[in-house]
């Protein structure tokens, strides 16, 4: 047995050594990279179907209660939504840039772009916090919990419909709009928080010098995840904040 191993080793002496990053069940770095990426894409496809349930709920509620959605959209601040859209788009670019830096083995650039992506995600959550805090404060919450006083109604709503009261809105079922709103933006926000955690992880690994032009799958796959989070927001922003 021992001689067999020795023969085997001498026979393949000229072959290049297996890279230490290459897992035993892959033939080469290309195969390993593309297998990881395929897995990520399957996960992202599933993510879209996962969010699809909520988009369907939105479509059905909206189709059946157009008037209620019209009144409800006055509660959302378009400026804050637009600011968050810009922040997420910029973070998507820095995420794509971090992949470029990893591939070009620009360590400093990689650290900067990873940090910028994390900071943009943080800025998104800060804006989200102010939006949520205001809604919870005035009582614009889900289901029967909706209890906004007439004095707390959005000024634009009262300017256009002076007769409107908090009671009327509650009876109309505006609470179900906020159920959809909090579920959709909440689940999306949860994804942003997970993304922030992933970017901290990538930053630490980049500091340790883990990535190279043939070993950057983690940077690439997290960026793909981050882009899907961005794409979902691209749909949430007009549907919730813009269409009245």
């Amino acid at each position: 047995m021992g001689t067999g191993v020795a023969e085997h080793e001498t026979k393949h002496e000229t072959l290049p050594a297996r890279p230490p990053e290459l897992a035993m069940h892959f033939d080469n770095m290309h195969q390993q990279f593309h297998s990881g990426k395929l897995g990520m894409w399957l996960f992202l496809g599933q993510e879209l179907l996962f969010f699809c349930g909520l988009f369907t709920a939105y479509a059905v509620y909206r189709g059946n209660h157009q008037e209620m959605f019209h009144y409800a959209h006055y509660f959302l601040d378009t400026k804050m939504g637009a600011a968050n859209t810009v922040v997420l788009l910029v973070s998507s670019m820095t995420a794509a840039w971090s992949v470029r830096c990893a591939m070009l083995e620009q360590r400093k650039g990689l650290l900067i772009t990873l940090a910028l992506t994390f900071l943009c995600a943080g800025a998104f959550m800060v804006v989200k916090y102010f939006e949520y805090a205001h809604k919870l404060h005035i009582g614009a919450v889900w289901g029967n919990g909706f209890h906004v006083q007439t004095a707390d109604l959005p000024p634009e709503l009262l300017a256009k419909y002076p007769e409107m009261t908090g009671e009327k809105l509650k009876d109309m079922g505006v609470g179900s709009f906020f159920a959809v709103y909090f579920c959709m933006t909440g689940l999306h926000g949860l994804h942003v928080l997970v993304g922030m955690g992933l970017y901290v992880w990538l930053f630490i690994r980049a500091l340790k010098g883990h990535f190279s032009r043939r070993w950057y799958g983690a940077v690439d796959n997290v960026a793909l995840y981050w882009h899907i989070v961005d794409i979902i927001w691209i749909f949430l922003f007009p549907l919730l904040y813009l269409i009245g």
Binding site: F55, V60, G63, A95, H227
Partner: protein, 124 residues
């Protein structure tokens, strides 16, 4: 994509790099495009176009999602199979939303009639 096509020098790509390196100019151009499309979305929503508001907003959102997928997510340069995973998911999403909307619109008046009948005082 064959592996050989990645070996040539592209945007200062290092030899032996796996995948396609995007130039920083492309990334900036894509971001500017997305920001312009965001302004377009807001403008469409502000104008009173009736039902076209929804169609326009979703249409522009689809274009934006496509731009993100093709350039930021590298699908232009990636394996075709990954592209079909994304398109397939989107098709299933559209199918589910479309079919359920169709269904709920078709039977909604039955639900309304039922509610009205229940609320109406019983005839003696």
């Amino acid at each position: 994509m064959s592996e050989a096509t990645h070996e040539h020098d592209h945007h200062g790509q290092l030899p032996g790099t796996i995948g396609h390196v995007s130039s920083w100019q492309t990334l900036v151009k894509v971001l500017v495009t997305l920001l312009i499309l965001t302004v377009v979305t807001v403008a469409i929503a502000q104008a009173d176009l009736g039902r076209l508001n929804v169609v326009g907003a979703i249409g522009v959102a689809c274009v934006k999602a496509g731009v993100v997928a093709l350039w930021f997510m590298h699908l232009r340069y990636d394996k075709r199979f990954n592209f079909f995973i994304l398109v397939g998911s989107f098709a299933l999403v559209a199918w589910m939303i479309g079919y359920i909307l169709f269904d709920t619109m078709l039977y909604q008046h039955n639900v309304q009639d039922y509610k009205r009948d229940r609320q109406a005082p019983a005839t003696p």
